[in-house]
């Protein structure tokens, strides 16, 4: 039971972290490097999950991705499959909830890279993508890594939105935070204790690492 929840949590969080890394960097780069209409609105929209009650975010996800949802109905008509009550749904919930942390940290550190380095790379014939991968990203890596680890921890602790879209099905969508809730609700104190301690330990290590990375000096 404990093992099952831990395994599922790690599966969900692994997928979520990879998606957050790619999508978060894309949005961070877009927001840091381009000026376009509605840019700050987009930033505000992406930040919403940070301040809204997770149940509200979860509600919107159902509204979008549910079987009769705006996008979900297309998917359901096409494939007969819906993300609601699946572990993939839990991944989506974790991504949406944790993404703002990645975007905020990465955007700030990408913006802090002296643009002359990038221009120098362009004058040396390198494309924007190559410049981003070889110059910008290595120079922004502290903030990017910190954002990624925080997102990982946030995804691991995700509860409300996950419950809304993926439900609480043991062995299928019951991640650790949900298992803790159920353990407490059913009076299984020992299980709740073990799960809570494991979750705390992982999160503590993550935040500790984030702080270490943020404080480390690179390239003076």
């Amino acid at each position: 039971m404990i093992w099952e929840a831990l395994k599922l949590s790690l599966l969900v969080v692994s997928f979520a972290t990879v998606i957050i890394c790619v999508v978060g960097l894309l949005f961070a780069y877009l927001l840091a490097k381009f000026d376009f209409r509605g840019k700050e609105f987009l930033d505000a929209l992406l930040t919403m999950p940070l301040v809204l009650p997770p149940t509200v975010t979860g509600y919107y996800l159902i509204f979008l991705l549910g079987r009769r949802g705006l996008l979900g109905s297309f998917l359901y008509d096409l494939t007969g499959w819906s993300v609601v009550f699946t572990w993939q749904g839990a991944v989506i919930a974790a991504v949406v909830m944790a993404l703002p942390l990645m975007i905020k940290a990465s955007r700030a550190s990408i913006e802090s890279v002296n643009p002359d380095y990038e221009i120098a790379s362009y004058t040396l014939g390198k494309s924007k993508l190559e410049t981003f991968l070889r110059i910008t990203l290595p120079l922004a890596k502290r903030g990017v890594l910190a954002g990624l680890i925080l997102s990982f921890a946030r995804a691991l602790g995700e509860f409300g939105a996950t419950l809304m879209i993926a439900g609480n099905i043991p062995g299928k969508t019951q991640t650790m935070p949900l298992a803790i809730y159920e353990a407490v609700a059913s009076g299984d104190d020992r299980r709740a204790q073990v799960l809570a301690l494991v979750l705390t330990a992982i999160s503590l290590i993550a935040v500790y690492l984030t702080n270490r990375i943020s404080r480390s000096q690179i390239y003076g």
Partner: protein, 218 residues
């Protein structure tokens, strides 16, 4: 070799904005672009390199047109064969001297790239700092790496934006010798921006003076 005839309005910075309206031609050798700060020297270099876009005009290097507002030609920075030495060098802080220099070398094979990098290190007598990153180098060493990096990509023209403003007077004279030697050895035309009269006199067989966005003397 290099033909520039461009206009660019820069708003905001000065009262009522600032109009850069310049026209000059450069042949081989070192050409000094002199003038007080705010005269438009750095902007001129940035227009040539494609970092900034002129409002109108023509920029040509050799037979190649980099910019022509009449023909709608505007080559990207990457496609212009322009080497650029920044005032603060803009060396990649996470790469060693050798990696900085090798970064823009266009040769396909790894050995050819390594050879070219060694050649540039030797040209500027900086083999001994090959494995150092910029913060472990002196100002003069950083300056040498910056010029070597820009030349290593085989540009058609090299633009230097006040490259010696951050080094002390003693080192300056030595570096000027090296820049002249590097120009002679590579045969690439240099356009050298400075507001320092002594430097301008020292280097300037060919000299263009800017004042308030216009060429006043060539």
């Amino acid at each position: 070799m290099l033909d520039v005839n461009v206009k660019k309005r820069l708003g905001g910075d000065l009262p009522k904005g600032f109009l850069l309206d310049i026209s000059f031609a450069v042949d081989g050798g070192i050409t000094v672009l002199a003038g007080a700060s705010g005269a438009g020297k750095t902007t001129t270099l940035r227009l040539i390199a494609g970092i900034l876009t002129p409002d109108e005009g023509i920029i040509k290097v050799g037979d190649e047109t980099y910019f022509d507002s009449g023909q709608n030609v505007d080559l990207s920075i990457q496609k212009r064969q322009v080497g650029f030495v920044f005032q603060d060098y803009a060396l990649f802080p996470h790469l060693t001297a050798e990696q900085n220099i090798a970064y823009g070398i266009k040769a396909k094979s790894k050995t050819a790239r390594a050879e070219k990098a060694m050649e540039m290190l030797a040209l500027f007598h900086i083999e001994h700092i090959r494995t150092r990153i910029p913060r472990e180098m002196s100002g003069g060493e950083q300056q040498r790496v910056a010029v070597a990096r820009a030349l290593a990509s085989d540009p058609a023209v090299l633009l230097l934006d006040e490259p010696l403003s951050a080094v002390d007077v003693e080192t300056r004279s030595k570096l000027l010798d090296e820049i002249e030697a590097a120009q002679a050895q590579t045969g690439i035309p240099f356009v050298y921006v400075t507001h320092n009269e002594a430097e301008a006199v020292r280097l300037g067989k060919q000299r263009i003076t800017l004042e308030k966005g216009r060429v006043v003397k060539t």
